[in-house]
Assembly symmetry: C2
C-alpha cells in the first residue's frame, strides 16, 4: 500500500478528500465558454485539462479538447499512463509547473458536471452472490435461490445506453405495464415499486474484436464509476419472462461524474471469493482483479435529512469486471471504447449490506425507517438517492465523489 | 394500389426488379474514392447521391455526403419526403434532369455495399405468435407454449449494436459455454446448434424523449431492412435464464444493404391480426401499421445449389414495429436516430413458413433435406443463408435485395 502523495494543492492532502494526488479521476464540467471541458479532480478543485492542452502545456493530439473522455481513451493504455504520470509529477508539492497550472484550476464545488464519456453500449451483470440469492428467495422462493448457471457464467444482459445520465439528473418515476398477482389483466400505470441498485460500472477504454482473455480484459478497462441502475420492480415482475428485463430498466441509469482509473485503484486489488465450483479456463483470473471499495447508499427525503441505509464492499462480488468483459467477448461480440459494464447490485452477506430496496425491505414486506421517522418500502417521489464509495488506505482515500439522483413524480418533466 | 412508375432507366421498369421507381431504397456503397457514398437503388443501378449533392444538383446541407444515412435521417420527415419526391420526379421517364444524373449512375452488380446507417442501439422483439408458440412447445413443452404476458406486451430485449453487420459479411461460428441436459458441468466449445432468424428490422429515424404513442412511433420509423439475427441455440439454452439471451445473440446480426422506406411500403399497409384479448390503449393502432411483405429463406451449402427452406409473410406478425417502438418508450426510454428494432423471427402458421432452423427441424429432431441431398438440422460451416423479400403489386414489386451471410468455421478469421 502506497502512502499519500503530497500536492501543492492543500485540499488534496487530507485523508477526508475523495481526490488526493493518488486518485486523479477524470470528468467533464461545464466551462465558462458553455462547452464541456475534460478535467481531473484534485482536492477541492478541478484542473481544466482542455485549457491545459489548448495552452500547449501537454499534447494528446487535442483529445482533451473534444468534450468528453472517449477520444482520449481510444488512444490506448500507454497514453493513459503518460497523462497520469505527468499529472502526478506536475501536481506534486514543489513542482515547477505550479504557476502555469494554477490559472487552470476551477472550484469543484461550483462546477456543473456533465457525462464523462460517450456510452457506446451498456451491459448490466448480476455478479453478487448475496444479491442473486436474496432475489431468488424473494421472487422464486427458497428452493430456486441461485440459477443453475450462476456459478459458471457471469450472467449479464444488455441494457440501454441512451438512458445513462450523469449524477444530478432528476429521474422521472416511470409508467409501464403492471399486473399484480391477484389481478386478471395488466394496466398502464406509474410504478409503485421504484427502486435503486447500488453498482459499480466498468468503463471499457479499448476496443476488441473476437474473444479476449481475462488478463486482456483487465487491461482494457479504463476505470470505474459509481452506478445506480434504477429499476421498476412491478414492471420487471410482469415483463421479464422469458427474455429478461426491458422497460423496467430503461428509464435511467445514473453514473458518478468521475471515472476513477484502474491505475488509481491498483493498491486496492483483491481476489474474488473462493469458488464453489471451478470456473472454465477462459474465466480464470491470474491475479487479484477485484477491488476493496467501501460503498454506501443514503436516502434523503424531500425537506428531510439523509439516512444511510446500506454499507457494503465491492470485494464481496463473485465475478470481477475483467471476468465479465472476457465472458462478454466469448461469442466474438465486438467491444468498443465507451462500453459500460454494470457490476450488478452489490450486496454483502449482512442484512445491512444489501444494495437495493427489494432486498432491504424483503420485497416490500419489511419497511425501513429513515432518521426523520418516515418509513420506506420502495422509493417515494422527492427522495434523493446518494451513492458514495472509496478505497481507504492508511492516510488517504481514493473516492468516487457522490452519485446522486432525485425521483420526481410521474407525469412531470 | 398504385401502378408501376416508369423511369428513364429501363431496368427499373420490369416486374422482376426489386428496385422500380416506386421503391427507391437507400444504401451506402464503396465509391472509387475509397469512401462510403450514400446512394439509391434504381433498377440495375445505384444513383450516387453523394456525387449528386456534391455537384450541387440537390441540397440537403451536405448530409448525403457524410458516408451513411444517419445524418440525413436526423433532418426529419419533411426532408425524407422532399428527397423521395425529387427522386421520383427526376428519375421519371422524360425528366429533363436525365443528362445531369446519368453520369452519377453506377452498376449495382459491381458495387460493394457498406452499412447503410450507424446503428445506435439494437433491440430484438418476439412478435410472431407462431414462432413464440413453436419455441414454447420445443423448449418448454406443450403446456407453457405462450408466456403469460405475450398477448399484452410486445416482448423485447436489448441486443448488441456492435455486432450488426451488412449483408455479405462472413459470420464466424461462435464459441461459448455449452451444457447439454445430460452433462453435469458446462464446457467452452464451438456452437453445434448455430441458427439463423428471419426478421425484418425497423430503422428509427427520429429521436424521442419520453413515451410516444403508436401513431408517432409509426411516423418516426424511416424504413425497414431484412435482418438475420444469428443465434447459437446451445449457448442460448444454457445462459438465458433468468435474464435473457446474451452471448448466444452477440456474434452477428446481418442486415440487408438497402433500407426500404416506410413511404415505399405505404401501398402495402395491412392490419395486424385480430386480438385474442384487447390491448391497452397505448398499444392500440389507429390504422393498418403492418405490411404485406413476402419473405423467404434459402440455404446454399459450399459448392452446392441453394434451396429455399421457408416462405412466409410479415403480415402474420401479432405486433407491428410501431407498437414495438411505442412500447419501447413506455418507461421514458430515450430513442435515438439509428436505433434498430428487430421484429422477432417471422413464422407463419404453416410448417413451410417457419423462420428459423430451431422450428423447421423442431429442435433438431426433424432434419430438412437440401436440393443437393444433404441433410441439415442446424447450420454447417460453409452454408450461406440468404434472406429475400418484397411487397408485390400488380405490375411491380418493392424488394429489399438479398441479405446474405456465410458461416465460416470457428477459429478462423
Amino acid at each position: 500500500m502506497t502512502d499519500l502523495l503530497i500536492s501543492w494543492i492543500d485540499s488534496a492532502n487530507s485523508d477526508a478528500t475523495d481526490f488526493p494526488l493518488n486518485n486523479l479521476p477524470y470528468g467533464v464540467f461545464l466551462a465558462e465558454d458553455g462547452s464541456g471541458h475534460c478535467g481531473v479532480a484534485i482536492g477541492a478543485h478541478i484542473l481544466d485539462l482542455h485549457a491545459v492542452e489548448a495552452a500547449g502545456q501537454i499534447d494528446f493530439s487535442g483529445t482533451l479538447c473534444q468534450g468528453d473522455w472517449s477520444p482520449f481513451m481510444a488512444r490506448g493504455t500507454s497514453e493513459w499512463a503518460r497523462l497520469r504520470s505527468w499529472l502526478q509529477s506536475t501536481l506534486a508539492k514543489g513542482a515547477s509547473e505550479q504557476p502555469l497550472l494554477e490559472p487552470h484550476l476551477v472550484s469543484l464545488g461550483q462546477a456543473q458536471m456533465l457525462m464523462p464519456f460517450r456510452v457506446s453500449e451498456y451491459t448490466d451483470f448480476y455478479a453478487s452472490r448475496h444479491h442473486a440469492t436474496n432475489v431468488g428467495m424473494i421472487l422464486r422462493g427458497a428452493d430456486g435461490s441461485l440459477p443453475a448457471n450462476w456459478l459458471h457464467i457471469p450472467i449479464g444482459y444488455n441494457g440501454r445506453a441512451s438512458s445513462v445520465v450523469v449524477s444530478g439528473t432528476d429521474v422521472r418515476r416511470p409508467s409501464g405495464q403492471l399486473k399484480a398477482m391477484d389481478e386478471t389483466a395488466p394496466r398502464l400505470g406509474a410504478s409503485q415499486r421504484f427502486d435503486f441498485e447500488l453498482e459499480l460500472g466498468a468503463v471499457v477504454g479499448q476496443a476488441s474484436q473476437g474473444p479476449i482473455n481475462v488478463g486482456q480484459a483487465f487491461e482494457n478497462i479504463f476505470g470505474y464509476v459509481l452506478l445506480n441502475d434504477w429499476s421498476a420492480r412491478d414492471i420487471q415482475a410482469w415483463e421479464y419472462l422469458p427474455l429478461g428485463p426491458f422497460q423496467s430498466k430503461a428509464t435511467a441509469t445514473t453514473i458518478s461524474p468521475w471515472i476513477v482509473t484502474t491505475a488509481a485503484l491498483e493498491p486496492f486489488r483483491t481476489n474474488t471469493p473462493e469458488r464453489d465450483v471451478p470456473l472454465l479456463d477462459y474465466l480464470t483470473e491470474l491475479g487479484p482483479m477485484l477491488f476493496d471499495i467501501d460503498l454506501n447508499v443514503a436516502i434523503k427525503p424531500e425537506n428531510g435529512p439523509e439516512t444511510t441505509i446500506s454499507r457494503t464492499n465491492y470485494a464481496s462480488m463473485y465475478y470481477s469486471a475483467a471476468q465479465q468483459l472476457a465472458h462478454h467477448t466469448s461469442s466474438g461480440c465486438p467491444m468498443r471504447v465507451g462500453d459500460l459494464l454494470g457490476s450488478g447490485t452489490i450486496s454483502g452477506p449482512e442484512k445491512t449490506a444489501r444494495g437495493c430496496m427489494l432486498e432491504i425491505t424483503w420485497g416490500g414486506q419489511q419497511p425501513v425507517e429513515l432518521s426523520s421517522g418516515a418509513m420506506r418500502t420502495f422509493l417515494e417521489d422527492g427522495d434523493t438517492v446518494i451513492l458514495r464509495g472509496g478505497s481507504v488506505a492508511k492516510d488517504y482515500r481514493v473516492g468516487f465523489g457522490a452519485c446522486v439522483g432525485k425521483v420526481v413524480p410521474n407525469g412531470t418533466m
